[in-house]
Amino acid sequence: MMASSYNAKEEDGHHSGASSGTGVSKNKKPDNTAFKQQRLPAWQPILTAGSVLPAFFVIGLIFIPIGIGLYVTSNNIKEFEIDYTGVSSDSPCYNCAKNFTWNTTEPCVCTVNFTLHQPFESNVFMYYGLSNFYQNHRRYVKSRDDRQLNGDLSALTDPSKECEPYRKSGDVSIAPCGAIANSLFNDTLVLYYVDSNNSISEIPLVKKGIAWWTDKHVKFRNPAGNGNLTLAFKDTAKPVNWAKPVYELDPLDPENNGFINEDFIVWMRTAALPTFRKLYRIIQKKSGATPTLPNGNYMLNITYNYPVLSFDGRKRLILSTISWMGGKNPFLGIAYITVGSICFCLGVVLLIIHHKYDNRNTSADIPS
């Protein structure tokens, strides 16, 4: 890859000359070691056109196929996205969005119909997407108490100051405290398949495996309470914007309730950018040849609890299949192809330069 020479200058063993010196000079005489004399054997690579050339070609030849592979994989991924915010008056959720108030007892439900033109073959991942939602705002990111979420009893009743102003409700401390937990996404999305004879069947949504395994099993823990979550959280208040306390997030499944509720854990991992999506449910592939989601009409039933219009946000539903490289993202493939081609072109340019200038250089050098 690089032109190099191994320049080993073995200077050791030349010490005999020093012994002839007097006693004083011998003490002061510097040691003749390769390190002290700066003559350690060294590999001396030089970046010349000639030596870099092959590297460019190799990079080009490796990157372009990778890029093509990535691009094709990305293109094969099926993705469907629908905005259900309800901004325009003709959208089904317009009323829910417009009439939203925090303290309603009756949830607003709206239904969005959509059509899939292509069947989704493998497992389908159902995401909700939010736009213009600054989960990465500093005040927001730090507004949590990891100790409390890890089941620390002292932090449960006395949460960290970082949680302000969502730390205490009156005199009772909030569990889970902080702005992140308080703004937990609480729309309920239910998907129905409308088959050709207009019969509606609910599509089973799996809610296990949407959060990181380590988060669910190590980082998040319910406070010890002899298996009774209600007892464990008895001295705490629910977050102000929540409809129900934390121990009722999933009353049916004790493994998914309280702090270890996966929807909650997913939400607690703050997104990097203001437009983000979070995994909501997984639609498992049925056995046999039938596609997970056949093409046809679908109905999305939304329990509209989450206001986004106040900050000009948007809510989306995304259905996507997944490959080994994740969701649909042509960027990596295109980038690889581009960089690979650039390297290849540079290789050619360098080849020309190498031939043109190298001859000149060597011819100039030889007489000297």
Partner: protein, 1103 residues
């Protein structure tokens, strides 16, 4: 500086209310003077404790911290740290506190260690035993308990514990011998005795302590019973300096006059002025630029923040409310935000750069002292580094100012010929300043003009010749050193003649005396007050030595007044021709051979009355307490006149080994070499030709007194300037003498019409590759230096010299190099670097200087680059997080980036990098031109590095941005959060900046491999560990499993590889293209060396 002031104030208070006087009175043995003589004022002086350490155990921490925070960068980080403590900032105080603590600790440890060494040395000195006479008994005490006025007993081979005045000696002649090797390298001189010690009742008045080793004025008042006190002068010759050693004398009694920190040695070792290198200056300039960038970034972000959150929905959406507390402080909120942004971006100022630079300099300087090629077997010493601050400046030298004698030449004088009354004599035997046994010196002078009298010369001395040789025998300050003492039995000087050798501070004198000895003019030297001048036939002529008018560099001559056995008073004088000729009334001398050092010898017969008058003048001047120097000079001026010229001597000073080769290399390296010498023009010019300073093709321009006498200075200057400008390609050499130089430098009062000579002179000099300044006074050397330094290009100057007269120029120059020569150690001590021989300058500049420069240049640029890469993504991130000061990286990464992930590879690079092999650098001095004028730290280069940093940062950030943009890249559909985003960028960042350094490394030893790959491995291991555990002491677990989850995703790997490739690509292309299109000499040499090595390797294999 301030501490010495403080000490002064304190000592002033200790002395009491009395007015600060210019002299001190020492009561010998603390005996009060007889009543009535003088009021007895017991004065208080510091004890004899030497304190070279800066700190004590108690004040180390506060004082060291104070000193460190005086440094602007440290202070800046302290302020940032305090801001972090006070206001609510995005990053925890740890992120800047820990690096600062690290930097401060490393520096403190280094300084503490150095101080501990000093303490240890002080302790051993302060506790060494000393014998003191108290109430007539000798008491043994510790050195630091000595006080001014104590009478001290010093035995042979002991060093003096403080500055003493000799009272009595065990030698019969009442003198003692001392060597001051440790002070100024001179071997020995004799100190005359004053008085018997037993019944001594006296006071000494002397000046307050001052650092000049060779200056001391004082007076001793001896009280005898009921008599008027007798006053005697005391001069520098009476003073026994602390640090000197007693020789050839069993014991002496002496009285302490200066103790402790007031001794001349202690005063001399006080700190020198700080020199700053050009690299440091550009480093500071870059820092200021980055500070401006930092402030503007913070301002931009603050403004954008307020613009962005103008609508309350953005400022405070329902999901993200402020606390009541945060809402209240409306007024100062903007300022707090500004500070918070400053804190967020403060890492752009590289915190560890200063400490790395310091470590690099400190450790790197060892390579100079370790260098075997700069070790001189003869001296038994290698190069010596007195300051490591200027290593890189060695690679930037544009002007070399060198002394001639002892620097270019050996300072090993050889008496070549003499000229008496117009006739030239040449002794054939060659003597190298070494002892020749008397038998082998069958001496013959061939007497030009009297060929037939060649052998009979010795018998037929004419009167002039007689006087001439007598003058040479008498007029000197040479002493005889006995070879060895055998079992305490000392051979007398006169018997020990065959084994004795001569020692003097001036090698010329030794050469002359040696020459005289070969001519069998044997001398019994300076015994008591007389000189025995014996001739070949055993007939001795006795002269009584009455006065010695010592040599000084202003007068440039010395004289002795002697009384011959016949009762005549004679004044012999010898000195430089320019200082003798104006005072000569008769006599002639023929021009001696060119290129030799000549001294003229003259004499004057004094009548009894003239002698008395001279005596009177001398005594008066010697007794003076104030302006003694000046008065002595006046007295000398009066006495030394109306000479009769006897003849001249010629002494050859051979060129140092490889001096010519060195000068040639320096020329090729683009340096302008100036030789500054006190010698006369012809001598100096001959040496310059011999040392290839002037080559045959060099066109010599003369700017000498001779020429300016014919034409006006103005005309000569303009003519030379025209010549220089007309012919550009020619190689010019300029010769200027001291007198003309001072005329040129004199501020022009004749009006504007003549223009400024200074400028024209500089213009001429700029076009001359070599300049010879002859007939220079020591002070003028510094003036020339000053002139060049102040010229508008501000070139980097280097001064090299070996003698005390070069000290001013060594201190003045950007880099001062001392040669450990024969004229003492003063130059070496005051220099920044000391080398044994002139030839070592070549390796010092061309190899070490070159290496240090490229190393430190890369270090500085790389530090700024890596911090731009580090912080710029964080800046870009603000645009995507609502300008909320959200840090992109985790606290641990912010903290450790500069101090552990990226610090070692660059430190090691800056210690061992060799872009071209050592031999190539030595073989091709012209490579030095490639780094001239601070070329690697110029603004375009700096801009390139910064742009590269910004480009890389943009690649990192947007690469990760597009990867994260609203999609997932795991195979299980799970999403990553903001910390994964930051970790991905950080991983790419660490790998990129480390690999960038790897690309720049031309010299891969196993240490480089170890450190570069090791530090990458360390980053990975640290990240795994940092994310692998729930850390109980942290109140957040944001990094838990983030790094592992990231690595479990294929696209993350692919994008890391892609982003690293993309960010390194431009630099590689730039390097390759620059090398192919317009290679620098260095790059050519690299390739040549490569092919050479390959070739060599190939041959080697074939054999």
């Amino acid at each position: 500086m301030d501490f010495s002031l403080l000490r002064n104030i304190i000592s002033r208070y200790c002395v009491g209310e009395e007015i600060w006087v210019d002299s001190r009175t020492v009561y010998i043995g603390h005996k009060e003077p007889p009543p009535g003589a003088e009021a007895y004022i017991p004065q208080r002086y510091p004890d004899n404790r030497i304190v070279s350490s800066k700190y004590t155990f108690w004040n180390f921490i506060p004082k060291n911290l104070f000193e460190q925070f005086r440094r602007i960068a440290n202070f800046y980080f302290l302020v940032i740290f305090l801001v972090q403590l006070i206001i609510d900032t995005p990053t925890s105080p740890v992120t800047s506190g820990l690096p600062l603590f690290f930097v401060i600790t490393v520096t403190a440890i280094k300084q503490g260690y150095e101080d501990w060494l000093r303490h240890k040395a002080d302790c051993s000195i302060n506790e060494c035993p000393v014998d003191v006479v108290q109430q007539g008994k000798v008491v043994r005490t510790q050195s630091h308990k000595l006080r001014v006025g104590d009478i001290v007993v010093v035995k042979e081979d002991e060093t003096f514990p403080c500055d003493l005045i000799l009272l009595s000696s065990s030698r019969p002649d009442g003198t003692c011998f001392v060597t001051t090797t440790s002070l100024d390298g001179e071997s020995s001189h004799k100190v005359p005795q004053l008085q018997e010690v037993d019944s001594l009742h006296a006071t000494i008045e002397c000046e307050q302590p001052q650092p000049d080793l060779y200056k001391f004025v004082g007076r001793i008042n001896i009280y005898k019973d009921k008599e008027e006190p007798v006053a005697r002068p005391l001069g520098a010759e009476n003073l026994l300096l602390r640090g000197a050693t007693l020789k050839n004398t069993q014991h002496i009694h002496a009285v302490a006059v200066y103790t402790g920190m007031e001794t001349k040695m202690a005063l001399n070792y006080q700190s020198k002025s700080q020199k700053r290198s050009a690299v440091e200056k550009s480093m500071n300039a870059f820092l200021i630029v980055y500070l401006c960038i930092l402030i503007s970034k913070a301002v931009i972000n603050t403004v954008l923040k307020y613009a962005w959150q103008w609508s309350p929905d953005r400022d405070e959406p329902w999901y993200n409310h402020r606390t009541e507390h945060e809402r209240q402080r409306h007024v100062i909120r903007a300022f707090t935000d500004f500070l918070a942004f400053m804190v967020l971006f403060n890492y752009i100022i590289p915190v560890s750069m200063y400490v790395t630079v310091e470590m690099q300099k400190f450790l790197g300087s060892y390579f100079i002292s370790w260098d075997e090629e700069m070790f001189d077997e003869e001296l038994g010493e290698g190069a010596q580094v007195n300051t490591s601050d200027l290593n890189e400046e060695l690679g930037q030298v544009e002007y070399v100012f060198t002394d001639k004698t002892g620097t270019l030449t050996e300072n090993n004088m050889e008496f070549i010929e003499c000229c008496v009354d117009g006739n030239v004599y040449i002794p054939h035997a060659i003597c190298n300043g070494q002892i020749l046994s008397a038998a082998s010196t069958r001496l013959c002078l061939s007497h030009h003009g009297h060929l037939n009298a060649a052998c009979a010369f010795c018998l037929s001395l004419q009167e002039y010749e007689d006087l001439f040789f007598r003058a040479l025998c008498l007029c000197h300050t040479v002493q005889v050193k006995e070879e060895e003492t055998v079992d305490g039995i000392k051979r007398g000087i006169h018997q020990g003649r065959p084994t004795s050798f001569y020692i003097s501070s001036s090698p010329d004198e030794v050469a002359l005396v040696e020459g005289m000895k070969r001519l069998l003019f044997q001398q019994g030297l300076s015994q008591e007050t007389g000189i025995c001048c014996s001739f070949h036939n055993g007939l001795g002529v006795w002269f009584e030595l009455l006065h010695v008018l010592n040599f000084d560099s202003v007068r440039r001559r010395m004289s002795v007044i002697v009384k011959s056995s016949s009762g005549d008073y004679l004044l012999f004088c010898k000195g430089a021709d320019s200082s003798i000729f104006p005072r000569v009334v008769s006599g002639k001398v023929e021009q001696v051979k060119e290129g030799l050092r000549t001294l003229c010898v003259a004499y004057r017969r004094l009548s009894e009355s003239e002698y008395q008058e001279a005596c009177h003048h001398l005594m008066e001047a010697k007794l003076a307490l104030q302006d003694r120097e000046q008065r002595l000079a006046q007295a000398y001026d009066i006495i030394e006149r109306d000479f009769v010229l006897l003849g001249a001597t010629a002494v050859e000073d051979r060129l140092q080994e490889k001096a010519a080769d060195t000068i040639e290399s320096l020329h090729k390296a683009g340096m302008k070499v100036w030789v500054l010498t006190g010698d006369k023009m012809e001598t100096a010019a001959a040496t310059c030709y011999a040392s290839k300073l002037f080559r045959r093709t060099t066109q010599i321009l003369e700017l000498t007194k001779k020429r300016t006498e014919e034409q006006s200075l103005h005309d000569v200057l303009f003519e030379l300037n025209r010549t220089v400008l007309r012919q550009h390609c020619l190689d010019f050499g300029l010769i200027i003498d001291g007198a003309t130089l001072s005329a040129v430098l004199k501020p022009n009062q004749e009006g504007a019409g003549h223009g400024n000579y200074r400028e024209i002179f500089l213009e001429i000099c700029r076009n001359c590759s070599a300049v010879l300044c002859c007939r220079m006074a020591p002070l003028q050397k510094a003036q020339v230096k000053e002139l060049i330094k102040a010229s508008k290009e501000h070139p980097i100057t280097l001064a090299i010299g070996d003698g005390a007269n070069d000290v001013s120029m060594i201190l003045e120059a950007h880099v001062g190099i001392g040669i450990m020569g024969k004229e003492g150690r003063q130059a070496a001590r005051n220099s920044d670097y000391a080398i044994p021989k002139f030839k070592h300058l070549k390796k010092m500049l061309l190899v070490h200087g070159h290496y240090y420069y490229i190393r430190i240049a890369e270090l500085v640029q790389y530090f700024f680059y890596k911090n731009v890469c580090f912080i710029f993504p964080q800046f870009l991130y603000q645009f995507f997080c609502g300008f909320s000061q959200q840090p992109l990286y985790d606290t641990a990464y912010l903290t450790l980036y500069n101090i552990s992930f990226t610090s070692l590879p660059i430190l090691l690079y800056s210690l061992v990098e060799q872009h071209v092999s050592m031999d190539t650098l030595k073989r091709e001095p012209s490579l030095y031109r490639d780094i001239a004028k601070n070329s690697l730290l110029r603004w375009p280069v700096f801009l390139y590095w910064t742009c590269l940093g910004v480009f890389d940062a943009v690649v990192f950030f947007f690469g990760a941005y597009f990867l994260f943009d609203n999609t997932t890249f795991t195979s299980n559909g799970q999403m990553f959060g903001n910390w994964t985003f930051g970790t991905l960028i950080f991983t790419v960042l660490v790998f990129t900046v480390t690999l960038k350094l790897a690309l720049d490394t031309h010299h891969w030893t196993w240490i480089n491999h170890f450190v570069i790959w090791g530090s990458l491995l360390f980053y990975v291991i640290f990240s795994l560990l940092w994310g692998g555990i729930i850390w109980p002491f942290l109140n957040y677990q944001r990094m838990y499993y983030v790094f592992m989850q990231m690595l479990s995703s294929g696209p993350a790997w692919l994008s890391i590889i892609l982003l690293i490739t993309v960010s390194l690509l431009p630099d590689v292309i730039k390097k390759v293209l620059c090398r192919a299109m317009c290679p620098t000499a260095t790059e050519r040499a690299q390739v040549q060396c490569l092919s050479f090595c390959c070739h060599f390797h190939y041959i080697f294999h074939c054999v």
